[in-house]
Amino acid sequence: MADRRIKIFIYGSNIIMSVLFIIPLLWMVVSSLKPESQIFADLGSIKSLLPTNITFDNYIKAFDRIPMLKYLFNSLFYVAVIGISGLGVNSICGYALAKLNFKGKGVVLTAIIALMIVPFESIVMPLYLVVNSLSWVNTWLALIVPFIANCFSIFMFRQFFMDIPNELLESAAIDGSSPMKTFLKIVVPLSGPVFTTVFILDFISHWGDFMWPILVTTGESLRNVQLGIQTFFTLPPIFYGQIMATLTFTTLPIVVIFLLLQKYYVQGITSTGIKG
């Protein structure tokens, strides 16, 4: 009897909380599909959360006013390049720190762990000067190269590779396999989960990039999707429906990636608690 009551209590609380949590995003999606006047007419009633008069007008009009597809492509491109090149650079570094012996390894590992704490906000200005002196401002390089090496990713790779049995690596070495070949042919195929986890953590965190692109992209050509929606938001005339359309559109790719790789993302959070 008591158990039953607790079960009902838990169900009830869950339903109330999840409705409260989902309302803002639901309103965003629903409003993007409504005529502007309908959004305001429905405010103050439950209809504001229900799709009435579905139309894609807001999307069509917003896409007429700003090149959303281009921004989307820009974001997908540079974030994917950071993610993929990061996998190469960070995994091999993590592997060396986990499985190879060399002088100064301890110092390098300690330095990498210590550098994890440096907040991006505290180095953003000198970093801008470094990038500027390389003449990278307003190029893809400025958006990508500084973020390829990542202390968190190196650390995650290292932790994962530590658990690979040494015998496996030694027997490969005895068979005459070079360290690089051992890494590519034996270690990488065993490490699908950690590669996926690091990639999705990196992808979601850089998908939200905002402060840095403001600084290093001056024109429209490299603008990412976050800057795009922020610019659109401040660009009169303001139509809620169109703004909600751009917001929904920006969120879609990340929802797709999340649904595909959900398991790995959650693993990444729970194993290290790290997110951009």
């Binding site: 909380m17 091999i92 200005m125 939200g208």
Partner: protein, 308 residues
Amino acid sequence: MPNVSTQVHTGTKSNVTSIGLQKRRESITGYSFILPAVLLLMLFLLLPFLLAVVFGFTKFNLLRPDQIKFTGLDNYVLLFKDKLFYKSLYNTLYFTVVVVPVQSAVALMLALLVNNQLKLRNVFRIAYFSPVITSMTVIAILWISLYNPNEGLINSALNMLGIPKQPFLRSADQAMNSIIFMSVWQAAGYQMMIFLAGLQSIPKDLYEASAMDGANKFQQLKFITIPSLYNVIVFVLTITTIQAVKLFTQPYVMTNGGPENSTRTLALLIYQQGFQFRNAGYASAVSVIFFMIVVLISFFMKRFFRDR
């Protein structure tokens, strides 16, 4: 006999050299494997960090780095007299002190709500988690609309409950709390996932044994669940604190630090001093203080919780 000893001797010697050679080869491999990452980190993380420290003692315009002038502690003297710095520091700490316990408590509650065999638990989990994967820019813009003082969804809802319209982001008294409310909603699902992993690692027989001893659910929560989660709670508090101190996107997009500087944070101050007013030296000094606060917090959290 002498023959044997020589043989053994030479054997060892060649082993030593081959082990030495192997070791050197492994070292070279090791260095070449870490080289790309180490070079990138030195150029784009360590160097900027050291530059921030050096720039803190100088005066120069961001656009004219060649006209840099050493000014000793001037920036720090200026900074400790600057009312706006104290205001930003206060706002940053206020946000942190409120958000960290509230968000962690909400997250723990959500984790307890979905840590069971309910059929719909995955639906609930995704509902709580959905704001986490939505980018902060999207969320900030969305909530500006929700918080709209005249035609926002929240004021309409309040109106239905008979509560008068609130100014939210337009008022110096409410702006920061509005940002806090939104931030808790956005990130609680993230901490929930960490708590959930912690809850699932508590051995089931602890609950079974205590149930046999007649413990009710509330006693189990108090005497089993919370103590078992101790390390996870410390971990969550630490990362949430460090995350909270960096508050930037929300006030940048939603209020630009206003009204009346009520939402100006340290990260926003660095950005504005450095890039809008081009005071690179001053902004660097703020960056150094900011970094020291983050280090102090993580150090303090570690000590405080270890001692207990």
